[in-house]
Amino acid sequence: MFVQLVINSIIAGAIYTLLALGFTIIYGTLNFFNMAHGVAYMVGAYLSYVFRIQLGLNLPLAFSLSAVATAFAMIGIDRIAYFHLRVKRAPSWALVVSSIGVAIFIESFVSAVFGSDTRSLRTEQAAPGYGLFGAIITPVQISMLVVSGVLMLFLTLFLKTTLLGKALRATSNDPDMSSVLGINTESIYRSTFALGSGLAAIAGSLVALETDVFPTMGHSALLKSIVASIMGGIGNIPGAVFGSFFLGFVENFGIWKLNSSWKDAIALILLMFFILLRPSPSGMESQK
């Protein structure tokens, strides 16, 4: 049981990492809590469903197309819902409100198109899992771990070595200075959105391999991204990874004793605990 819980926690942590990384870079660069982040996760899962089941493409292609399509969709959304507010230098809560509107709209749109019943990416009988110290891990779960591991590595390299990655970090550090230095900050904002949403879309697609796809699946994903990135210090990339795994462990060991429907509540109690006990509510922002 213990080993199984550890494995489950690590898998959950890997998925949360993809979500939280996207959430945290969007916060770091655009400076607002993107309440539509869960929607990118949900749209990613649905697009993968369309490409994989309805159009019959192979899995890696379906996933990549879904991530790219989600990224472009979010760039479009950015132009409609956030661009004006950014130009006006509106306070961040206005952007949060706008993203709530976006989330409600897209969620009900998807629900109108696909209906509220669940879909699934599973095509054949689930492959039997491998035994590992008395626990079971399925091939799907292994592929989840591999894909998120590779993406984390890719993201780190991208931010550290490429020109775009450096420009992104510079913009998140000081947008005004960056634009003085000739960085097109608007295009950086769009890339950040695309990158963060693409990561969420891949997380959604991976989860869809194991569980059902339904219009409100983004809610708990949003919750997990918020909790994981706040625990790690919002805007902080290694922090988000740490927060995600921490959340994965707390949740999975929490439901050892409690009913599994308390999972979201556990995450939120952690969140409340962290935002209420942080030494200074503005501490994170002032570091930047």
């Binding site: 509106a90 709530i100 629900s111 809610h219 918020i226 409340m272």
Partner: protein, 288 residues
Amino acid sequence: MNVVFHLLIMAGIYVILAISLNLILGYAGLFSVGHGAFYGIGAYTGAILATRLFFPFWGEIVLAACVAGFFGLVIGFPTLRLRGDYLALATFGFAVIIYSVFNNWYDLTRGPLGIRGIPKVEFLSIQFKSLWAYTVLVWIFVCITIFCIQRFTRSAFGKVLEAIREDDVAALAIGKNIARFKVLAFVIAAFFAGIAGVLYAHYVTFIDPSSFLVQESFLIFSMVIFGGMGSIGGSVVGAAILVILPEALRFLGLPSSIAANMRQMIYGALIVVIINWRPEGLIGKAKL
């Protein structure tokens, strides 16, 4: 004709919710997105008191509103230090936790099965069985709410709240105990949301957790934004329009599943449009 009374009752309930949220959001400038939680607490408390302890209506509504108000204290007090986005997250978290409790605390709330057979209201030996009588009762409470909140906002108390919204440090500097005022705003708003919950429970006679999802909070929130923050008239108009407008979709002859989603899509789109292009709402005065 029954449809008209139904709409009037629902509009009345949402007017109470929107006005009370406006006290926190528009007047005190505290960014609370979890108002549906107080509404749910009021509804559940009322339902439990009426079905298990056979309370008379007047005692029940006062007690349920006080319980909701107590939770306003519970959430208002620890979140005093939080501002803007972080307060939004904490209240959002609170709404999800409360929903989990409704869903999981089986002994008290009967979980997803909900509470059935909530009696129709009998008050001052008048039976409010017919729809029109209940409509009158609901609107009496709407008038009471408008009267009370109007008195609050025009009193010194309301002026201090507005001062806190504009500049809390200045308010503190002239010797106002801003912590007390903020908590008081939460308690009063939660109290009235509790009343709305009881009215809802007695109207539908059956409540389950799905009536108090986070979307409910967002809906109340969008009513305030739409009508205009810091304007009671705005909240009345905003709530009434957002309850009645979607009913027009019925006459377009859409199937009910699509119509429900269309309604949500309209809410989402309205939030984005209002916050981007008319942040003061229909008749509000708040500026970005």
